[in-house]
Subunit: 430 residues, 4 copies
């Protein structure tokens, strides 16, 4: 029996709070889970800084990756023998599902923005580079690593396979909505996945859903909407994220200006110079980042030290609603006032915006294009979801944006009580 | 209004997956939660290495500490106006509940054993030392820190207060059983806490339970039994724990033998010399430990390097049932054979034992004494639980021990295939 | 102590799957629950015929009535001491909550339509008539029964009290959505009631909700929408309802045409003549109705016998989408064809329509007016929900109607295979 | 394709709160569910009178029968291709599972005792008699009805098949524990059925369980123990059961003594004379019984009228702990005192006993013998559960009995206050 078809002598199960059990029968999957690159995902939180708001949100990307694998496994076991489904693609789908987030680093969002990284590029690099994961995939077939990378990259020729991993209703989203709801404890994020899986059907170029399952899909769309606004874009989480970004900016700035760190930031050097190699990237997990932040609390630079202290000890910035485009004058005045009282506004006065489209149509050519959801009617026709669902139609394409201004209230309160600038700042912030 | 009685202008709530919401109304509690010493508990996993077996078990002691606080808060809100209950003790109970695990360090179990530490002593040290926590408690009342320490230390004069925090059915146990069940996803660990809280009654020197709630208590005892054997003593978790201990032993040994570390282990020095000061202790959280383990993977000492690699990348030891007391000859032979093939048995051949008493009677004079559970009958008499419950009677005092022998199967398999020693080792281990 | 203030020596609890426990402390409430009129609700299913579709939906109105009481109890325990809240209204609210559905009879929907009854009128009649419930309420205060009736009737002077029992987000709706979801087992119907209760505030003339709870309210609105379309308007349930109505029509018709029943329908006589007295109404519970239906299976009238057999043994009508307004010609042709083949279309060809408004504005003067939901902003202003919520705005006022045509497929299939009429009927129904 | 192998064109699903979905693919199963004999189970409550204690316990035997079918279906889908498993027995197992409770009547427990009936005999009679169920089974194979009856009767030759339906851990018990827990809302009754199903293995003559699943089985045993004492033997439920039995006794007594009923009890006549025919049995469902009880409230016989009023309006007997064997003198005195004050003790002074064995060994020759649970060790040996499980060993074979004395407290309180007999009665009952 080839490695590709090799089965474990006994099925392995992982106890999972969300899917109850995760089942592994393929030797290849078992081997991939055991690699250092995959085990590393245990040291990266799924929701980054959300734990500052929802203390339960301490689960890792390892958790989520297994979950996505399990959902795809269940979908495919329903697909067996169905038209359009090529059983030969099974292992490819499972590997892509398991590995789709492999390139995520610690606190990806801020790291990517500040250091101009792309976790998807690193996912590909791990799969195609000289790694344990690569060698396992290559044992399956010479160009198997490339195929897995193509699926994750959405360039694989079989679009049905891609739609399992990334579309408006893919295994990735179905897992994270439920998982993040479970660990945060919020009451949103629940929908009837078992029903959705039962009504999924393969077609030539995408996964579709029988129209009898439309209400379950509506529920999924609404869950997504609620999770975005209640959890993912929570303003307190964004406060931690703002501070984190500023730490990275400050450390890079100090490095570029030849500041002498007490602890030489060897793990960060290639990030500062934007020349990160794969091995360096893999070495930087969350414990390493937190180690540095703890050391940097003791640095002499007051801004780096203060920001790290805030992050580690959860002394966050406060916020108000603020739209700089509409409040340009206030914004400029605040900026000057901060400078006047000696609080550097480039680190301590931060506007942050979040936005979400609850459900997008397919809009060719756009960057973040996602396949829309198609329903399969009794007459075997495909209809785009929002054509059949009033509720989805009424929310589709409605972009909502939330702008907030973040600042260190404690610093402002500590200003001398007679200060005119202080008084004016509080007038504007009120 | 004094600081002691100060209430937040608006009640704060934490979303909690186990208790749904955690409610904070007291300014003192709110301030304690904000201290660096308490926030540090976010960086220490509640279940140490259990995540290697149950991937969901990534929750922190911060989580659990809030949970214990909430349970005590609910108990006390039922106690208001009841005989024997002194409302003056309320804040003391809440503080002791919140802070009872404050002295836990990363991977406490192994650290305490190897470096001869005692987390309870550190809890006291934090409460009584020059810390943020201490200063807040002192604002309540000059000797309030001492009182809190006494409650946690079980030396406080009011035994009723102590029994809330530590007895056979205290808030600590009720929280961790449910919480650990939730995060691991196992189906054990559930019992009707709401019912138990409703039938709890204060008496002069302990918390008791109305006998109408006996079945809920039985269920709690059984949950505890199942959680011990299914989760806490899981042999795979113990394998990670064994490796962790050996890392600590090896690093200490190397230090004592003047080994030159590539990275000077400054955070560990006082641990190696067993002269840990409070500040050093507080600096050592899980991210710091993991940072060192990652660095030590690259050390030249092959044992330290190998063990750290095993821990970080989850290359665990395998195990068999093995009772060295009954298998002394086999044990000695294995020990010699390991030496013969060049695998140091003091690091790579490890016996580990676990044991639990599902429900203990009160046995005065024993070290780990816990107050037994007393039921209050309709005739207002107190009866020890096992007198009334057949099921508890039948399991009480039954100590069960589980002995396992851990070893690196991969090393053994890599021995030359012709080797007699190898053959013999496998004969014994089979 | 007056009867009004009398408390039970020990709080009574009911184990409830939805709210976990239902707590009763007031003697008045306890006494009301024990009355024959309230116990009678155990013999009336909450969801009428829904059990033919969702076999779990066998719960009674007794269940739901306790649930509504419990929700109001929890709301009021949060209201204590809040502005605008008059603690004197507490018992009135609890009684109105408990008794609001007291006048429901078996399969209310069909009975009310066919026999021109009004369950709300019977609720008032029970509360004001010579009943156990009335005598208990009168012990509280001479005009207390009238007050309770006024609250349920929405004519009570204190509008805040009314809004607890009937508005767009009242205790009634919050209970039935969750309860019906629980018993049917569907995954809709969940929302964070605990959160909603926490953010409810009394105002001068209505219950309002702090805007921080807006997302929980959105979730509630969506739950309601899904429950209507997935459960309450399910076409299979409506099929049973159609048959039930036709049974009632037929029995009345037979009575009016001097048909001699094998079993004299003494329980139905006053219904047939539309002169139902209170005592007769109370005697007619679901077991009595089902007893008659079982007896009527054996009647000689073939239509009554057939319809009862269909209802008892779940031999339901099939259905197709059909809008008679748009398909008038087809409708008339079908009607004639049914007559031609000897299947009486007035019993066997039935159009049924359902419709729902997911969220209504307040529209004064309309019959079914419900108070809209108002949010209380941080600036203490009231805003109608759809002004603040995109999601509610997009669905509010959108009425959706679902038309179906029901017919006995088995009868049609049993027509002689050569029949032209049969062929034509199937062409139209296809 | 033969009827036996005929599959529905599309799988049918029932939404089930306990197992989420119940899947039906076989035409035979679908047809059986549609029979009047099976639909009749909707009109018989699973837990008889338990709803008087747990208001949620209103679910029917229809519910449970589908659940047992579904569990067996899941077990068998795991068995496919396993040694010892004969796929030819599949449909037989499914039918036996679905139909195992078909002979239950309303409030079986009391009816069987009073009228000397045996629901298992009626199950056989329905399967083998001239019924819709019989004709469907016969279409499968001439002697298929007999086979199904044999499995339910535990006389079928293949003991493995029997053990699926009736043993210490069969599908019947696994369903009812979970289902009754769900509907009552109690927190007992939960165990990891998914795990148990995964580790079940067929052997030559019984279903066994891999020893890795031992803890899940322990949990199941404990659930059973708790459900018995918390739900099934609840003293309030037994009070309703006592009254019910006495109603049946009284009506039979009146019939035998030529009492003239206002309503001729035609449905009961054959029960009174103990000559019940199948058709009469099937006609007597719960609505019919409740109809009679309501009518009998108005009978002139004061005992029948009073007891029916108590049952319908939940005016139950109170109870005390009482063991007549140990309290013979008190018992005799009470009996005389009741006679003296004119309360007939044969209806109003009732001792009721409940007992349970939490886990029985196999004891050949005993009537209620149930196959014990065998675990399959890694070495492929079978070990009886209590040999391996400390917890089961400690409770196995321990019979617990609970004796209570029931009486109408309201009658006793209404006795003249000066009465010596009254005073004495209360002294004894205290």
């Amino acid at each position: 029996m080839t490695y590709k078809d090799q089965q474990l002598s006994e099925e392995k199960v992982f106890k999972d709070p969300v899917h109850r059990y995760i089942h592994v029968k393929d030797q290849v999957i078992w081997d991939l889970i055991g690699t250092p690159e995959f085990q590393r995902l245990r040291r990266i939180k799924q929701l980054g800084t959300s734990y500052v708001t929802f203390h339960g949100a301490e689960h890792s990307r390892f958790n989520h990756s297994l979950g996505v694998y399990e959902i795809v496994r269940r979908i495919l076991s329903n697909f067996e023998g169905k038209p359009f489904w090529n059983q030969e693609e099974r292992l490819l789908c499972l590997c892509a599902a398991l590995l789709h987030d492999l390139g995520h680093g610690p606190f990806s969002h801020s790291f990517e923005k500040v250091f101009k990284l792309d976790h998807e590029a690193f996912t590909r690099a791990i799969i195609l580079g000289n790694t344990h994961v690569h060698h396992i995939l290559q044992r399956v077939e010479q160009n198997f690593p490339q195929k897995v990378a193509d699926v994750i990259n959405k360039t694989y020729e079989d679009k049905l396979v891609i739609s399992l991993i990334s579309s408006q209703i893919d295994a990735d989203r179905m897992d994270y909505l439920q998982r993040d709801a479970y660990y945060t404890g919020v009451s949103y994020g629940h929908f009837d996945m078992e029903r959705i899986l039962r009504v999924m059907r393969p077609t030539e170029d995408q996964l579709v859903i029988k129209d009898t399952g439309m209400h379950a899909v509506e529920d999924y769309i609404m869950s997504r909407y609620q999770m975005y606004w209640q959890v993912y874009f929570h303003p307190v989480t964004r406060s931690a994220e703002v501070i984190l970004s500023k730490i990275l900016h400050r450390s890079k700035y100090l490095f570029e200006n030849n500041y002498t760190f007490k602890l030489n930031p060897i793990h960060f050097l290639s990030f500062f110079t934007e020349q990160v190699q794969l091995e360096e990237y893999l070495n930087l997990d969350e414990s390493v980042v937190l180690y540095y932040f703890q050391m940097w609390k003791e640095e002499e630079d007051p801004i780096l030290s203060d920001l790290c202290n805030r992050f580690i000890n959860r002394q966050l910035f406060k916020y108000i609603e603020f739209n700089p485009n509409q409040q340009m004058v206030a914004w400029q005045e605040l900026y000057s006032l901060f400078q006047e009282v000696g609080i550097d506004p480039s680190y301590y006065l931060v506007v942050d915006s979040s936005s979400d489209l609850p459900y997008d149509f397919y809009r060719p050519g756009e960057e973040e294009e996602r396949l829309p959801i198609h329903l399969l009617t009794k007459k075997n026709e495909l209809r785009e979801l929002s054509r059949l669902s009033d509720i989805v139609e009424s929310i589709s394409g409605k972009k909502r944006t939330d702008n907030k201004l973040y600042f260190p209230l404690d610093f402002l309160e500590a200003l001398p009580s007679g200060s005119k600038a202080k008084k004016r700042i509080f007038e504007i912030l009120r």
